[in-house]
Symmetry: C2
Subunit: 636 residues, 2 copies
């Protein structure tokens, strides 16, 4: 097989133009109206009935001849003979003659002979007669047949997207089924490294996220997804699956296997069986994209990375679905927001994943190999070619990933169950990036975080404020949090009585930059002093010192599974995991908050909850509030 | 049974406060991730795996020991022994020693011994070795296990609404099922007059729209609807159904039967079996609303009218669902728009159905008895108490009925298949109100319509411009449309050769204010003159002269079904219905357009299409364009 390493990329504009011209013809299927929500109507709907179908009373009262009421007044009511009652839904025949009245309910059919309804409020019923206190005019309180919808009227038009309103309208004209468009989009995930969610994860395997994420995105566009599952990087199997999919679907999507590597088969197959319209779009992450046509079926190869696959789907596949369904692409939720921090770009046109917090945009890109920045990305922004830097404060348009609820506060820093408790108690939605205290400080200086969660100790054993001073951070306040018991976490099989016992064990350390790791370093330094040695000498024997677990929970997991003998972390995590705990020190877990946010509702709620008695009570084991918890203790 | 005609209404504010306190506890159900779109996550999701699960190559290239590359350069490449290849997904064990390299694909696991990957672009493969042209550092092109998601990390939080992004995130950590909240909302439609869509419409019956419209609205809120169908106004049956529903559901809704009429049973049952929290809210259309609690199950009686039922649902039921699911009600789509015309209100607080066209708001209220203003309403505005008039131009907030696409142009006036053709050819979405030419002129003077569709003849046989002059309409233009053959439409069984033959037949006339009716009047007047009699004398014998069909199609329907012998209308409608047609006259179907809209894209498209040759060709039989079609022929 020939390798294609370099090729001419299609410009974004050309790719858009290309995609805009592609149309497929969806079939029509008849569904029960209950099942049509989100579907696209395939035909104009003409009413087959009048609504209402009969002249109908719109009030509770009496059906009479209007002229019998013309002389009626409060002082001199007219008395009419009461000859019966018509409840709603009654289909008996009645006739009202001069001088007669029939009791009638809202919604009941007007009897023959009657030409008006007098409201019950303006009458008084006697045994066999009714007194009329006011005149009514001909037609009063009568809704004529067809007033609302006339038989033959077009009440819904083709290409309407069905919702509660539309379903109600169909029901009201008696339709229990409706013709909707069925545009089937097949999805093939390619790659020998993929396995199906739910299966056991072997070494070298990753779960197939694209089949499911893209299926849901297809539904959001009004299409019908058909998942073909995972196909290994073998030409024959892929070819066979592709043939079946092309036979059964209106559009076929593949994901993965489009880079110029050993698995570059999909492009070859399209090239061989059909026509390649473009291979590679000059937009990051569009380089591996291939758009082709096989037997009149658009066949599109998406990148393997889920965030990239969804971005490219939104940009270059959704328009084909919308256009083919006769929809306007106005269903894409776009919001205008302001850059909360600067974003650097490589100069190439780029679909850049971002988070949106209270109308501010932050980069949500981890590394080019990342699989699920997806969980931190609320949408994408398009960065134009030759843009090297987007300034903080500039306005950008974000295309949201569906009906996404943006978080209320962005927290970056150390991980702690206390933060989860704050989130639960405030009812706010946090985006919490557990990157360690150092990253929290950095994010404050870059303006990325609203709140940094920090537990960073210095050489003298002081927490947080000394770091703020050293970093010369401005326009922030330090809010007192709580203290936490930190110590050794191990399984009951091991005999650990203090820090000196761990030097020959396998440890799972926390990530560099985390306050807990810094605390362990400090304690090891103190121990070395006592032992008359150096810290570096001490950690030589400490296996696993270079490991870096991002959360307390994952550190405990490593101990539980036997991968490590011991971890250093908070008591709460040890207890949750059912592991032994020996306290070594207490840390101080505080919050750095941007000054300009102190007055906003979300931060106010955060601080109120933090300082509440209820929060103090509900903190997990081994965590304790101070008198000053929730107060600003210094301002920078 | 006692009648309750008057009662104290609850203020809107009190009703909101009441509703805001109601919570139910939804159950958790486990669904396959494919089926969770739109559902609400019941638990925090912690990752059970590292993503990636292994150290992974992020490039196609060669896994090596970094130090073997330190001396490499373009002129002096380093040669390493090629000992194998690791494709993605490969789970064999490999070991790279000093001086060795293994070919590796993107996504494949890094072999033991190797600590870097050099990109294929910077190498050259020979038979049993590979040349390295650039140095790489330790860790280069390697994504470490857990970089993206660390085992134990919370990746989705409770109460998240599932969409394509969330489904993708779950799949990527290997979950094929997810715990979601299941809040079951039962719907009982009450009223002996109701029948199920799909059944034959008997006299006095109307189709049950609420069960379906409200079920869809419940789904839009994240709830699970359960339809109990139609229950007649009989206390025993209703009581039994309500008992079952309360037993099976978290919330029970009923619609209809809550007015103070003969069917006022639901309120009685709630009163008897539980507690009435409010009966009647001081908001139009909330008067019949009853909110009660039976055995801890909120039981709410909605109005019978579907628009009212949906409005009240949005206002007072949706919050209970949102709160119980832990959602913020920010899912309601609210848009700020500008009143396109004034709206009068009775001074009572009101949820007023409106249409939204290009950001302008118009009333969509027909009559209080109307069932489906629903098809013309895009949302509702809330009119505060004591507001008598909302001025055109004032800003209002519209709560949209779901994901509604607003129409591009509002057309009011005469009905014609030529308009449908224009809509199809422009690709625009029209809201077309077939109310007759007179209503079209009136709508132009009131500013409600963008375009009036008119075919109104005066006594001298002149069309449209004379009416504009008489009405003294300003700031509009008259655009030439096309002419249409109008005549007698009848079934082949009848012998009709001209207008004089119809005087003893049963006619189906068009609605008052329609141009076609005016044309018939004119022709009858001319005939009377010829016959030496008066028009009023002539129509005395014309049975059905007072009837008023709103569309050409429904007039033809009446003839086809034998309800009328003859209709007066356009040839196109007669031919579509397969009826006989004798031409009597031609009318002129023109368009009145607001001057300030002439430059907008939608009107430009309208005019371009109207004047196109293609439109002329595609006009139905009996309709002909002029030289001037699509041109402005006069300005007012």
């Amino acid at each position: 097989m020939e390798r294609k390493e370099f090729r001419e990329l299609t410009s974004v504009e050309d790719a858009r133009t290309l995609v805009d011209k592609i149309r497929v013809q969806p079939e029509t299927t008849i569904l029960p109206i209950e099942g049509t929500a989100g579907q696209i109507l395939a035909e104009d709907i003409l009413s087959g009935v009048n609504v209402p179908a009969f002249n109908r009373s719109i009030k509770d009262g009496y059906a009479i001849r209007a002229k019998d009421s013309y002389q009626a007044s409060e002082p001199e009511p007219q008395e009419l003979k009461l000859i019966g009652a018509i409840p709603a839904g009654c289909s008996d025949s009645f006739f009202v003659d001069d001088g007669e009245a029939i009791e009638i309910s809202t919604g009941a059919p007007i009897p023959d002979g009657a030409d008006a309804v007098i409201m019950v409020e303006n009458t008084k019923q006697k045994e066999n007669s009714v007194l009329i206190y006011q005149p009514v005019h001909i037609g009063e309180n009568i809704m004529r047949a067809g007033t609302d919808i006339m038989k033959g009227e077009r009440i819904l038009r083709k290409n309407t997207r069905m919702g509660s309103r539309e379903i109600g309208v169909l029901a009201s004209i008696g339709m229990d089924k409706a013709p909707v468009k069925r545009l089937i989009v097949g999805i093939i995930s390619t790659g020998s490294e993929l396995i199906k969610p739910g299966e056991v994860l072997g070494l070298s395997k990753i779960y197939d996220a694209n089949s499911y994420a893209i299926a849901a995105a297809i539904e959001e566009c009004g299409g019908t997804p058909k998942i073909y599952g995972i196909v290994p990087d073998e030409e024959e199997v892929m070819e066979r699956t592709l043939e079946t999919a092309i036979d059964e679907c209106d559009i076929v999507l593949t994901s993965g296997s489009t880079s110029a590597g050993a698995g570059d088969i999909m492009y070859m197959i399209i090239e061989e069986k059909g026509e390649t319209l473009t291979h590679g779009i000059a937009i990051k992450p569009g380089k591996p994209v291939v758009i082709g046509m096989i037997d009149g079926t658009p066949t599109i190869g998406l990148p393997g990375n889920p965030t990239s696959a969804l971005s490219i789907f939104n940009e270059f596949v959704a328009p084909i679905i919308y256009n083919s369904l006769g929809l306007k692409p106005s269903f894409k939720t776009k919001v205008t927001a302001v850059m909360g921090t600067g974003i650097r770009s490589g100069g190439r046109e780029e679909l850049f994943p971002v988070g949106v917090v209270r109308g501010k945009v932050y980069p949500a890109d981890k590394t080019s190999g990342a699989i699920t920045t997806l969980s931190d990305a609320d949408g994408i922004i398009e960065i134009r070619a030759h843009t090297e830097y987007i300034e903080p404060g500039s306005e950008v348009e974000v295309t949201m990933f569906g009906n996404v609820r943006s978080p209320d506060l962005m927290l970056i820093g150390g991980q702690c169950p206390g933060i989860d408790l704050l989130e639960e108690m405030t009812g706010l939605m946090f985006r919490t990036l557990n990157m360690g205290s150092s990253a929290g400080f950095t994010a404050m200086s870059g303006g990325t975080a609203d709140i940094a969660c920090v537990n960073m100790v210095d050489a003298d054993g002081n927490y947080n404020s000394s770091v703020l001073e050293k970093m010369n951070l401005k326009d922030v306040v330090l809010v007192k949090g709580y203290r936490r018991e930190q110590g050794l976490i191990f399984s009951p099989d091991n005999h650990v009585y203090g820090l000196e016992d761990i030097v020959n064990l396998q440890i799972i350390n926390r990530n560099r930059g985390s306050g807990t790791r810094a605390l362990l370093d400090r304690e090891l330094g103190l121990l070395a002093e006592v032992k008359g040695t150096s810290k570096s000498e001490l950690i030589k024997d400490l296996k696993g010192y270079n490991s870096g677990s991002k959360t307390h929970r994952s550190a405990c997991d490593a101990v539980k599974s036997g991968k490590a003998d011991v971890a250093f972390g908070i008591r709460a995590a040890a207890e949750e995991a059912g592991l032994e705990f020996i306290p070594v020190a207490e840390d101080e877990f505080d919050f750095v908050i941007r000054k300009d946010l102190l007055e906003i509702k979300e931060v106010q709620m955060f601080l109120e909850t933090l300082s509440s008695e209820d929060f103090s009570k509900r903190l997990p084991q081994g965590m304790y509030t101070y008198e000053l918890t929730g107060s600003i203790i210094s301002s920078f």
